[in-house]
């Protein structure tokens, strides 16, 4: 959304990185830096093109490994039924043993390029699951999805660190969510999703000290972790107190947005800031949902689930308090640097808390609806004004889009005749076009 890095600034940053890369080439030529240092500097300040090329190379290598492995499996499957059990068992374990042997070979020969580590990490991770699945098939073992997934992900976790493979981490997090999904709401078992998902955090923390923070694969891992933790909130929600979910998710999105400001403010592009994107987008999406009446029905203490154990209530409340506390702490540390529209995702959790309190205790649903409709509209207006001030057309359009969306949604809610709705839509479209024309003309004149 518009509160993220404006288009103008990211373009300037990319131009600066390109200048630096040209300087690095000159420094190598005159002997000012050596090649390893030059590579670390280039990785630390990637240009969009270089980052894209690097990701493409890794992606093709991974695709090659997957196609090779898949083709081998198909070739083997052709004669599978005619082989004895020992032969089938050996074939089932072969990919895993091969991956392990290649990892040992890489360690012995000092291979450390990402083009080696990432595809091998992916192959190794997938071969673990393949070996367990194929052995289960050979011995006709009864299906136990839970134990199969848990065994796979626990054995795959060390691969992330041994191969320093972020893509292995992405697969690992997918396995964690896949394992946890059937256990949604089943406590205490579902709570395991937290230590399992957070097990990749040390890997990311270690990357912050190297020149590997903003590589494409590290960005993918941050995306996967951000999404997995968000899924974890939903999977471990007990729903003992109806309506508390809105405060929990609002706090999560605000915390994401604010924590990103502390951790990744110097990231080279929006792609490297999933917490900010998911946080701001989540705030908008949840705000729009809360402009409807249905989420506000039957919430609060009068409807709490008495049959649930007390610790379920404490767990939900504790989670909400922890996330709110985290958001407050991160917000206080950035209170002087948060500007304009950035304040809206930052305070979103307070707005959600106010709406919940108004409705849960007072039953004033209408007040909550007015609150959120007003919040979204004013957020959109702030984006427009800020975008006009900085000449950022993208932010202006985002703000106008948000305001228009609220108006359109309310119109669909209302019983107004089609003519009235049509006139309003025409008016909104005209405003959009007029603002865009004016700003584009102003930008052309200033360049």
């Amino acid at each position: 959304m518009g509160a993220a890095i404006p288009n103008g600034e990211s373009q300037t940053m990319s131009a600066k990185h390109q200048w630096l890369h040209r300087e690095i080439d000159e420094w190598i030529r005159v002997g000012l830096v050596d090649l390893p240092l030059a590579e670390r500097l280039r990785a630390r300040y990637p240009t969009e093109a270089r980052a894209g090329r690097s990701l493409a190379l890794i992606g093709f290598a991974v695709l090659g490994v997957l196609l090779l492995g898949g083709g081998l499996i198909l070739l083997l499957a052709h004669n599978w039924a005619d082989w004895s059990r020992p032969v089938r068992t050996a074939v089932a374990l072969a990919p895993l043993i091969l991956a392990q042997a290649l990892a040992l070979f890489g360690a012995a020969t000092g291979r450390s390029a990402s083009g080696w580590r990432e595809p091998l990490g992916v192959f190794w991770t997938l071969s673990i699951g393949g070996a367990i699945a194929m052995v289960s098939q050979i011995y006709h073992l009864a299906g136990e999805y839970d134990s199969f997934m848990m065994t796979w992900l626990l054995l795959a976790l060390p691969v992330i660190y041994l191969m320093r493979s972020a893509l292995s981490g992405v697969i690992y997090l997918a396995l964690v969510v896949a394992w946890a999904s059937p256990h949604a709401g089943e406590l205490p078992r579902a709570l395991l999703v937290w230590p399992l998902a957070l097990a990749v955090v040390p890997f990311l923390v270690a990357r912050r000290n190297a020149a590997q923070t903003y590589t494409p694969s590290a960005a993918l891992l941050r995306w996967a972790l951000t999404l997995a933790l968000g899924a974890g909130v939903g999977l471990t929600l007990t729903r003992a107190l109806p309506g508390l979910w809105m405060v929990l998710y609002a706090s999560l999105f605000s915390f994401y947005f604010l924590a990103d400001g502390l951790l990744h403010r110097d990231a080279p592009s929006r792609w490297h800031r999933p917490m900010r994107l998911i946080g701001s987008t989540g705030c908008v999406a949840l705000s729009l949902i809360l402009t409807y009446e249905w989420p506000w029905r039957e919430i609060g203490w009068r409807h709490w689930a008495e049959s649930r154990p007390v610790w379920h209530h404490l767990l939900d409340a504790g989670s909400a308090l922890a996330l709110m506390g985290g958001a407050v702490a991160c917000g206080m540390m950035q209170r002087r640097t948060l500007t304009g529209p950035e304040r809206y995702p930052a305070i979103f959790f307070l707005v959600a808390l106010a709406g919940f309190a108004i409705t849960a205790h007072g039953g004033l649903t209408l007040a909550a609806l007015v609150l959120f409709n007003g919040f979204v509209f004013v957020y959109g207006l702030a984006l427009v004004l800020d975008g006009v001030r900085r000449g950022a057309l993208g932010d202006v359009n985002a703000g106008l889009g948000l305001m228009a969306l609220v108006i359109v949604l309310r119109f669909f809610d209302s019983g107004l005749p089609m003519l009235a709705r049509g006139l309003v839509f025409v008016g909104l479209g005209a405003v959009f076009l007029a603002v865009n024309v004016i700003l584009s003309t102003r930008q052309r004149r200033s360049t």
């Binding site: 392990q100 040992l104 360690a107 070996a131 367990i132 699945a133 011995y139 006709h140």
Partner: protein, 188 residues
């Protein structure tokens, strides 16, 4: 650093191989040394995305008397014996491991009405076959059942709580052999 990394990779590799190796070792011992039991089944044909085509074996839940203190735990031990026709039957279920003189299988149990009876579900669910043959297995069974001779049997080995399926028989012939002869004598 290289040496440390290599040692760690070796250690993790051994642990990763230990998981399937333990599965293989336990099941191989059961197949070599376990007691043979025959279970009446009704094959159906679904698909397991992870492990390929299999014939779902439905032998049905069996009721059995519960021995020992009442328990709400789902996991239990099912004691097996052979009925007058030589087929496997569950003669009792208990929460604690029986002594080695009895053949028993790790199973799941649910109380049925009174505390002293439970419904027992044995770990016999699927028989993996090559993809093209699994649908044919179901079709062959239905054709066979339509002739009024619908008994199919699972041969399994039982040892120390483990149960490993050896084969599925139709008309006393292994399923794959039955499919070959039935397709030869009844071409499409």
């Amino acid at each position: 650093m290289k040496l440390l990394n290599g040692v760690l990779i070796l250690l993790v590799s051994l642990i990763q191989l230990a998981a399937p190796a333990a599965m293989i070792w336990s099941r191989e011992r059961t197949l070599r040394e376990g007691a043979e039991y025959r279970f009446r089944v009704e094959p159906v044909d679904p698909y397991d995305a992870f492990r390929g085509r299999y014939v779902r074996i439905t032998i049905g839940a069996r009721e059995a008397p519960w021995i020992g203190e009442p328990s709400d735990a789902e996991r239990c031990f099912a004691v097996l014996a052979r009925d007058a026709d030589g087929y496997a039957t569950v003669v009792a279920a208990r929460a604690t491991r029986p002594d080695d003189a009895e053949d028993f299988v790790r199973a799941r149990c649910w109380r049925v009405g009174e505390h002293d009876r439970v419904r027992v579900v044995l770990p016999i669910e699927r028989f993996y076959m090559p993809d093209p043959e699994a649908p044919a297995a179901e079709l062959a069974y239905r054709v066979h059942a339509a002739r009024g001779a619908g008994d199919a049997v699972v041969i399994a080995r039982v040892r120390n709580g483990d149960l490993v399926i050896e084969d599925v028989l139709i008309e006393d012939r292994p399923l794959r052999a039955y499919l070959r002869t039935s397709s030869a004598s009844n071409p499409p």
